[in-house]
């Protein structure tokens, strides 16, 4: 390791040098800068014909399956439409009440009433109906594969990578093959949400079954349990808690996919309502409908979570709520046959604040225009553009107010050189090399970087962080992106996501540190994070589109809003859950609070913080794809186009590209975190 460590700065310098050389030489030989179109071998036609062949053989089978699957959805939609609003609301109230307490009951009840009040009852129930069918199916699927993966190592070796793939392929990309195989209809949403939601159940099943202490198993064996008894009476009950947490995650994933599936249209559900109104720039309506989704998400999350973590009661205290629930629901059902207002929310009580909201928004946008434009332009010209196309092109009289003269360029070079010198004096040669590389990339711009140089940088970074295997994987993945002709789009995606991740991570870590040191901050931040995390992705877009309209800046803000959550969460969690004795030792030695934070806590929390970075990237990529809806370029847009045209090849190539980027980033950050953890002797359970 020492040899390669010594080599590191040299190689980084070489890579920076290579970038400059290729950039300069590309004037006479453009192929050095942009991968020549003639060399592109696009797999889209091949994929399309493959899919075409597949559909012509298996199409009828899938259509039949789709037809079968449509029935339970129809039944559940019919049921939820048939049930009086008062009865459904009561069901939710009691689920909340029994799961957690009157607070959750009230919350769930008010959420349901809100849906009725603003007139989105039917749409909400249609979405809920799909979730109602997809969750049990995803749970059953996940359970079966989880048990299989638990008992058979060989099965696990096949299952886990598939889960990784399913969870890194962007949600949008799921829809395309399903759409082609099953045809339009509610089935697409159902199948997509099952596929998207079952992996967490598999993971939690394996995790839960594995975590059952050996002694409990042995106690079961010593009691004379047969293998079957051992599974049903010992392993399964002991793993139940973890599996219920899986149910919670599965429910949330299913809901989020059902909402996303609305982009294919043709369904009268709440996701479609949000999307449709957003497209028509009816932001008031969009926000109201988005709020419905958020409320459904929060209710489902809290309720399933409450049941998962519910402590055991020694003796039932208070009345038996299940009995009361059945009674109340029966009475409400009976009453609603007599009083129509209990069955159908009365027209007179509908409330539509959307026009008022739209007017208010308009007022804000018109009157705050200077501010809004100012913020947007500053961010765009001074942060995003330089990273995207480099100082070389970004600095112009129109953007920065002056020309990038040779003198200024020289000054910039001097600045970078000074930074390198400072690092070199401190004998931190790798840092010096990285400063140089950073200087070069900032000047040329990420999207203008010669493809060979970028390729080499990524592969070497993978090698340094995670070793040879990842370097090879990265090389293959990147080569696919280049040859398939989606390299420019990939770099655009990397750029936007990279900027967002950088900001989210820096800001999130700071907030996380603050929250770990200050309980008030923590108690303020926590519910906001909970809300953001349970929010289906494209609801987060709404407020930003409202104010900043469509464009990259809006996308950036939306990604940050979503991706900052894990950065905050992991940092705070890491800092708050350090071994007590280490903190005590530091206190005894006489550390000030500041020293304690910087010299003890932060270094020790580094693995957790790095895991936060990992999650930030994954969240960022997840959101990135969705932002194609508000007009970003890159892979997300390609997926969206593929979806719109029903072009499997285009969408799938971009989807795979996204997955490649996500996986490489994931493995790199995981490796860093893991190395630190091993160094500190911490163990983490991971599937």
């Amino acid at each position: 390791m020492t040899d390669t460590t010594k080599m590191q700065p040299m190689i980084w310098f070489a890579l920076a040098g290579l970038s400059i050389a290729l950039f300069l030489a590309s004037g006479s030989l453009p192929a050095l800068n942009d991968f020549p179109d003639a060399w592109v071998f696009s797999p889209t036609d091949f994929m399309n014909s493959l899919m075409g062949g597949f559909v012509s053989v298996f199409g009828p089978a899938f259509k039949a399956m789709g037809w079968l699957l449509e029935w339970p959805v129809r039944w559940s939609q019919a049921l939820l439409e048939f049930l009086p609003w008062s009865v459904t609301t009561a069901v939710f109230v009691f689920l909340g009440l029994i799961g957690s307490g009157w607070k959750l009951g009230l919350f769930a009840g008010l959420s349901m009433i809100y849906m009725a009040l603003i007139g989105y009852w039917d749409e909400s129930m249609n979405s809920l109906a799909i979730v109602l069918i997809s969750v049990p199916m995803a749970v059953a699927t996940g359970f079966i594969f989880g048990v299989l993966g638990f008992y058979s190592n060989r099965a696990r070796k096949i299952i886990v990578p598939i889960l990784d793939l399913l969870q890194t392929i962007p949600a949008f990309a799921y829809l395309l093959p399903i759409l082609i195989l099953f045809g339009f209809g509610t089935t697409v949403g159902l199948v997509a949400s099952i596929l998207y939601a079952f992996p967490p159940m598999v993971r939690n099943t394996i995790l839960g079954l594995r975590a059952v202490p050996e002694e409990i198993i042995e106690a079961g064996i010593m009691s004379g349990a047969t293998p079957t008894q051992l599974f049903w009476k010992v392993r399964l009950p002991a793993a139940k808690k973890q599996m219920l947490l899986g149910l919670n995650q599965t429910t949330m994933a299913a809901l989020s996919m059902v909402i996303i599936a609305a982009v294919i249209g043709g369904t009268n559900d709440i996701g479609w309502e949000v999307l449709n109104t957003m497209r028509k720039a009816q932001f008031g309506e969009s926000l109201l409908a988005g709020f419905v989704i958020a409320l459904i998400a929060m209710s489902l999350d809290r309720i399933t979570h409450a049941f998962a973590t519910k402590p055991k009661e020694i003796v039932r205290t208070g009345p038996n709520y299940w009995v009361i629930a059945v009674l109340v629901i029966a009475v409400l059902a009976a009453l609603s046959t007599v009083f129509p207002f209990l069955r159908q929310w009365p027209e007179a009580l509908l409330w539509n604040p959307a026009p008022t909201m739209n007017a208010a928004l308009e007022w804000v946008v018109i009157n705050g225009r200077e501010w809004i434009e100012g913020i947007k332009n500053a961010a765009f010209f001074f942060v995003m553009l330089p990273i995207k196309i480099g100082l070389n092109k970004a600095v112009s009289p129109f953007t920065w107010g002056f020309e990038l003269t040779p003198t200024l360029t020289l000054g910039y070079v001097g600045l970078v050189a000074a930074g390198m010198l400072w690092a070199a004096v401190k004998r931190r040669f790798t840092l010096a090399a990285i400063i140089m590389l950073w200087g070069v990339v900032s000047y040329i711009g990420l999207t203008e970087m010669p493809w060979i140089a970028l390729f080499a940088i990524f592969v070497y970074a993978a090698y340094v962080t995670a070793g040879r295997n990842l370097a090879i994987g990265t090389a293959i993945g990147m080569a696919f992106l280049i040859i398939a002709g989606v390299w420019p789009e990939s770099v655009l995606s990397i750029y936007l996501c990279g900027v967002a991740v950088l900001i989210s991570f820096s800001l999130g870590t700071l907030i996380g540190i603050w929250a770990s040191e200050n309980n008030t901050v923590s108690s303020i931040v926590r519910p906001i994070m909970d809300t953001l995390q349970t929010m289906p992705l494209f609801v987060i877009l709404i407020p930003f589109v409202m104010v900043f309209k469509i464009g990259e800046f809006t996308a950036l803000l939306a990604i940050i809003a979503y991706a900052i959550v894990p950065a905050i969460r992991y940092t705070e969690h890491g800092l708050r859950n350090l071994p007590e004795h280490v903190i005590e030792a530091a206190d005894t030695i006489g550390c000030t609070r500041r020293q304690l934070l910087f010299k003890v806590k932060l270094p020790l929390a580094l693995p957790a913080i790095m895991l936060g970075l990992n999650q930030t990237i994954i969240y960022g990529i997840g959101m990135l794809v969705i932002t194609a809806l508000v007009g970003t370029n890159g892979l997300g847009q390609r997926i969206y186009i593929g979806l719109g045209n029903g072009d499997f090849g285009v969408g799938m190539t971009a989807g795979i590209g996204m997955a490649v980027i996500a996986m490489v980033a994931d493995r790199m950050t995981q490796a860093i975190s893991q190395r630190k953890q091993e160094q500190f002797g911490l163990v983490q359970q991971h599937i």
């Binding site: 202490p213 002694e215 409990i216 042995e218 106690a219 079961g220 064996i221 010593m222 009691s223 004379g224 349990a225 047969t226 008894q229 009476k233 010992v234 009950p237 002991a238 139940k240 055991k312 020694i314 003796v315």
Partner: protein, 360 residues
């Protein structure tokens, strides 16, 4: 010292030449030898040979007998193979070679379903970290082995209630394990292992996870229970003093091998090697040595002397001898006089058995 029941001579469980090897091909070393590879040194050579071929020897040529009503303790440090051995006895861990005879029947030869019957009706086990079912309350945890046997809810709860009284958990029936202290949890563990009225009772470091005061109390209760129930017991511990307190006989294990087997006093008086001696050094001799061990037959017996049973520990004798210079007579169980002891004899015995450097 255990008091009361005298273990019978009848062998309940016999562990003969048991080996447990981990690795890619553990069977290759035992072609038809049933683990009996010759004398002790041959076994040791084989163990070394196995280690050299990248296998792990968890238990090597382990042999011992457990008599009816006896508390047999296996003592060893962590990694010595003692937990593996106790698991081999019930085939929770499948031994690589050897014989395990329960009432003369080789358990390694019985079918899976017969084995399950043995576990259901003849064996009970207590675990270091209790191994309680987190989803069952105290009553149902205790009734769990009965549930596995398919006994009706009413009957098994009835039985569990009886046992709850035995271990002193009345009033905690509806609690869940997570709501109990360590000591209480182990009472549940003990109760559960007794629910099927086993003939063989395995305890794997049952008190090691408890704090010292509770541990002591639980040991006393364990001995009380054993006086009442008279089971044949294999008790695992890493605590030498605990072994001394409860063992009728004990085995010391190291690196998967049994180093010495005997009564605690035999081990102290005649340690087989330095390894055993290292343990015995820490033991206060007056706790272990009995009047019978040092009774001096050549001392004149006078009628005015008092007399005591041979198994009285020296510690209890000390106050008496301090006041009676003439000494005391020692009598065995049959009423024969074994000799007499004076204060000087005790001092001499303690001096010879004192830790190195402290006298001698």
């Amino acid at each position: 010292m255990p008091e009361g029941n005298v273990p019978s001579e009848q062998v309940k469980l016999s562990c003969r030449n048991v080996w447990k090897i981990y690795g890619s091909q553990p069977q290759q070393f035992f072609d038809g030898t049933k683990g009996n590879v010759g004398d002790a040194s041959a076994a040791r050579d084989l163990a070394q040979n196995i280690r050299d071929s990248e296998h792990i020897v968890a238990a090597a040529n382990v042999s011992f007998d457990v008599h009816v009503g006896e508390i047999f303790v296996i003592m060893g440090l962590s990694g010595s193979g003692k937990s593996t051995v106790v698991r081999c006895l019930s085939r929770v861990v499948e031994p690589t070679a050897g014989e395990i005879l329960m009432d003369g029947q080789d358990l390694l030869k019985v079918s899976k379903s017969e084995l399950i019957e043995y576990r259901r009706h003849k064996m009970g086990m207590v675990f270091q970290n209790f191994g309680l079912m987190p989803h069952l309350n105290v009553l149902d945890n205790i009734a769990f082995p009965l549930e596995i046997q398919g006994i009706s809810l009413k009957k098994r709860r009835e039985k569990a209630r009886e046992i709850i009284d035995l271990v002193g958990l009345q009033g905690r029936e509806a609690s869940f394990p997570s709501q109990l202290s360590g000591g209480q949890q182990q009472r549940v563990g003990i109760a559960r292992s007794l629910a099927v009225e086993p003939e063989l009772w395995f305890l794997d470091e049952p008190f090691s996870a408890l704090d010292p005061l509770i541990r002591r109390q639980m040991q006393d209760e364990f001995l009380r229970l054993q006086r009442e129930l008279n089971k044949s017991i294999v008790f695992i511990t890493h605590d030498f003093l605990e072994a001394l307190r409860i063992a009728d006989r004990m085995a010391i294990m190291r690196d998967g091998e049994v180093v010495q087997i005997g009564r605690p006093v035999d081990l102290i008086l005649n340690p087989a090697n330095d390894y055993v001696k290292d343990f015995t050094n820490d033991v206060p001799s007056e706790m272990v040595l009995t009047a019978g061990d040092i009774a001096n037959a050549s001392r004149p017996l006078t009628p005015e002397m008092g007399h005591i049973p041979a198994d009285t520990s020296l510690a209890t004798l000390l106050p008496y001898l301090a006041d009676n210079e003439a000494g005391i007579m020692v009598r065995d169980g049959d009423g024969n006089d074994l000799g007499a002891i004076t204060a000087r004899d005790v001092v001499k015995a303690l001096a010879t058995n004192a830790p190195e450097g402290a006298g001698a």
